[in-house]
């Protein structure tokens, strides 16, 4: 009924949505939208590296994004620049350096649009393995650090005082962020990955009254966005990333009706 490439894209997108759901909730709770953006922008550098060294894209993006996260932490300690300025500095300079490097690599044909906005034609069977195995590892790790991470998200000192290890949880979570960007870059594209993280989670906030339900709604929102987005992409020949994110936005707008009701009830 459908072409193989479309089935692959669908399976890949569903895998990605299962992981972006819970991670996206933490991105919103911990106010990390711009941090996610910075890591995603730096992914372009990782991609160029993968092409030059003929290396796996996901792994090289993961390595570069983790390094950028480390550099950010170091810069935060060394300078007094505010956090958003540092994030902007790293995001745009790594994007710029990546594009300059691409300019030098004239011997390789690059699909820049595909990199920036996702390309469902590009998803191979290998990518599926990376997404599903990598995704399962991310979720397992998240489950392992959940209590520490969540408690320190509510209140750092409380978590630290009562014997959880918030600093370790935060470090591991940073690595998980780099990992989700690495596995979802082909689907959504590096400019829109953060959208995939925060829009379904923002929609979920409007519908939920507990952290668990927010995570579940966020996953459902992500899944719906991927499915609707990919069918649109197939039907109208649009880029996969923007189609998925637009679908997510529509779901978010629908969720506003629900929140309006509950705010009215409160007043």
């Amino acid at each position: 009924m459908f072409d193989d490439f479309f089935i692959r894209a669908l399976v890949a997108g569903i895998g990605v949505a299962f992981v972006t759901g819970p991670l996206g909730c933490f991105v919103i709770w911990r106010r990390l939208s711009y941090f996610g953006d910075t890591l995603a922008h730096s992914a372009l550098l990782g991609v160029t590296l993968a092409f030059t060294m003929e290396f796996n894209i996901a792994i090289s993006v993961f390595v570069i994004s983790s390094m950028i996260a480390l550099i950010l932490i170091q810069l935060q300690k060394k300078t007094n620049l505010p956090g958003d300025a540092l994030l902007g500095l790293l995001a745009h300079s790594s994007l710029a350096v990546g594009l300059v490097v691409i300019g030098f690599l004239t011997f390789i044909r690059f699909d820049i649009m595909g990199l920036l906005f996702g390309d469902i034609l590009a998803v191979s069977v290998d990518d599926l393995l990376i997404i599903w195995i990598g995704g399962a590892l991310i979720l397992l790790t998240l489950k392992f650090i959940w209590k520490s991470l969540f408690a320190s998200t509510v209140n750092y000192e409380l978590a630290e005082a009562e014997g959880l290890n918030p600093d370790r949880a935060k470090a591991i979570f940073t690595i998980l962020m780099a990992a989700i960007i690495a596995i979802s870059i082909k689907m959504v594209g590096l400019l829109l990955i953060t959208g995939m993280l925060i829009i379904p989670a923002a929609m979920a906030r409007n519908l939920s009254s507990s952290p668990q339900s927010m995570v579940i709604y966020s996953i459902i929102g992500g899944l719906l966005s991927v499915i609707i987005g990919l069918f649109t992409s197939l039907e109208f020949n649009t880029s996969s990333g923007p189609s998925i994110i637009t679908a997510a936005l529509l779901l978010f707008i629908l969720s506003l009706f629900k929140i309006k009701q509950s705010i009215k009830l409160k007043n």
Binding site: K147, V154, E157, L158, G163, L164, R205, S210, P211, S213
Partner: protein, 248 residues
């Protein structure tokens, strides 16, 4: 020594410096099982900082902390829950430790907020929230309770009831309590040991000893030594950035 085994946390000449300014300096105290130690002192005297040092929240401190238990319940002075985080009282109760329903209900009943169990934390009043914080801290039956102004915003009758509850918990669970309070009357009647802070330890000892102490009188005013007096204090000295003390 049996008394040594009863020690839950011990501060040895502990202090914390931030941006070349001493928040608190040279604090030595210990909290033992079944005992209530209270920190008193004016605003900015380093009470909360001392509590956090005892909890091991600060990594780079002066002096040392010896902590002999990991079962800790903490009621912070201030906690704000962002709107983006949907959190009901029930979710909050199991934040740092998984508890069964009976334990949660029991703790919430003790502090009188069982009816709020399914409410969103953001919808609670200040006093209600404070009761939930206390319930969460005692529900895990800790060895050491650190309570930073646990009854702020609680109504008058509730305040007395909660202090009685704290005293009862200390007796029944034989846990040690490090309490920060502004209510001198309660401090004096329910406390085993008082530490009076003003950037450093002004004086310490049993409530009666402290009430008679001249530095305490100087810090809190003559009337405070009459125990039932209003909370009031006068600074007789200031602290320079290096932590030196200058008499006014």
């Amino acid at each position: 020594m049996s008394t040594d085994q009863n020690i839950l946390v011990k501060l040895n000449n502990a202090g914390l410096q931030l941006n070349n300014k001493w928040l608190v300096k040279g604090v030595s105290l210990q909290v033992e099982k079944g005992k209530i130690v209270t920190l008193i002192g004016p605003n900015g005297s380093g009470k909360s900082t001392t509590a956090k040092i005892a909890l091991g929240i600060y990594k780079k401190i002066d002096g040392s902390v010896e902590k002999y238990t990991n079962k800790v319940g903490y009621v912070p002075q201030k906690i704000s829950i962002d709107w983006t985080l949907p959190l009901r009282v029930n979710d909050f109760m199991i934040l740092t430790e998984s508890l069964n329903k009976e334990t949660i209900d029991e703790a919430l009943s003790l502090t009188g907020v069982i009816h709020l169990k399914d409410k969103n934390l953001g919808d609670l009043s200040g006093g209600e929230f404070q009761r939930v914080l206390l319930a969460r801290a005692i529900s895990k039956k800790p060895d050491l309770l650190v309570l930073d102004e646990p009854v702020q915003g609680v109504d008058f009758t509730g305040e007395i009831a909660l202090y009685e509850l704290i005293k009862k918990i200390s007796d029944e669970l034989s846990c040690g309590i490090l309490l920060i309070s502004h209510d001198l009357h309660t401090v004096m009647s329910a406390t085993d040991f008082v530490v009076c802070l003003n950037g450093h330890v002004c004086c310490s000892g049993s409530p009666m000893d402290v009430a008679k102490n001249n530095e305490y009188k100087a810090l809190f005013g003559e009337q405070a030594s009459q125990i039932l007096s209003r909370y009031e204090h006068k600074h007789d000295h200031i602290h320079t950035n290096e932590g030196e003390i200058k008499k006014n």
